[in-house]
Amino acid sequence: MKNQLKTLREDRGWTQGALADRLGVSRQTVNALETGRYDPALPLAFRIARLFGQPIESIFTPPEEQDVAES
C-alpha cells in the first residue's frame, strides 16, 4: 500500500527516528512503512493519522485505488 508518510515527515523536518519515537515504534518500522514493505495494523494507522491530523485514507492509498489512478 502506498502512503504519504515520507512526505508528511519531511514537511515537518523530522528524521525517521524522530517519527519513530512519536509513534512508539522502531526506526526500522518507519522505514518499512515509508517504502511500502509493511502495512500498519489499525492501531498504528490511527496513531499515524492522529499525529499528522489527517484521516487514514488521505495518508494511505489502498491498492485498488492505486490501480484506478494508474489506469
Partner: protein
C-alpha cells in the same frame, strides 16, 4: 536537509529498548557461562556419580533467565519487528528440523554421529542468525 532527515540512526526508543534488553540478557548469559564452567569442571558428567544428572540439567536455570529476557524483549518491540523476528525464528526452526531429520536418517543408516544435540543446536542458531540477517535487509 533531506539527507539529514534520511539518517539511519536508531531512535531514542530503539536505544532504550535495546538497553533494557542488554540489561536483562547479559546477566543471564554470564550466569549461564559460570554454571556451564562449573558443570564442566565439577560435574563429572562422564563419571559414575548419580549427581551427574543433576549437574547436567543445572544450566537450565540460567537458561530460563535468558528465555525470560528474550520474551520480555519480544513484548517490548513493535508489530513489524515481531514479524521479522518470527520469520527469522521460522528459518532457524526449519534448519534445526531438517538437520534433526537428516541426522536421524544417517543414524538409521548406521552412521553414528557424536554430539548430535550440539549439531542440531548449532544448525538452528546459525539458521536463526542467517535468516534474521536476510529478513532484516529486505
Amino acid at each position: 536537509m533531506t539527507n539529514k532527515l534520511d539518517s539511519k540512526d536508531r531512535s531514542e526508543g530503539d536505544r532504550e529498548k535495546s538497553r533494557a534488553y542488554q540489561r536483562e540478557f547479559w546477566p543471564g548469559i554470564l550466569a549461564y557461562t559460570v554454571v556451564l564452567i562449573g558443570v564442566l569442571v565439577w560435574g563429572d558428567l562422564d563419571g559414575n556419580s548419580p549427581w551427574r544428572f543433576l549437574w547436567a540439567v543445572l544450566p537450565v536455570i540460567p537458561a530460563l533467565w535468558i528465555v525470560r529476557a528474550v520474551l520480555r524483549h519480544v513484548r517490548r518491540i513493535d508489530d513489524y519487528q515481531r514479524l521479522l523476528l518470527l520469520q527469522a525464528l521460522g528459518g532457524g526452526f526449519a534448519v534445526a528440523m531438517i538437520a534433526s531429520v537428516t541426522l536421524a536418517f544417517l543414524e538409521i543408516a548406521g552412521l553414528s554421529v557424536p554430539g548430535v544435540g550440539w549439531i542440531i543446536y548449532g544448525a538452528g542458531m546459525l539458521g536463526w542468525i542467517v535468516s534474521g540477517a536476510v529478513v532484516g535487509r529486505r
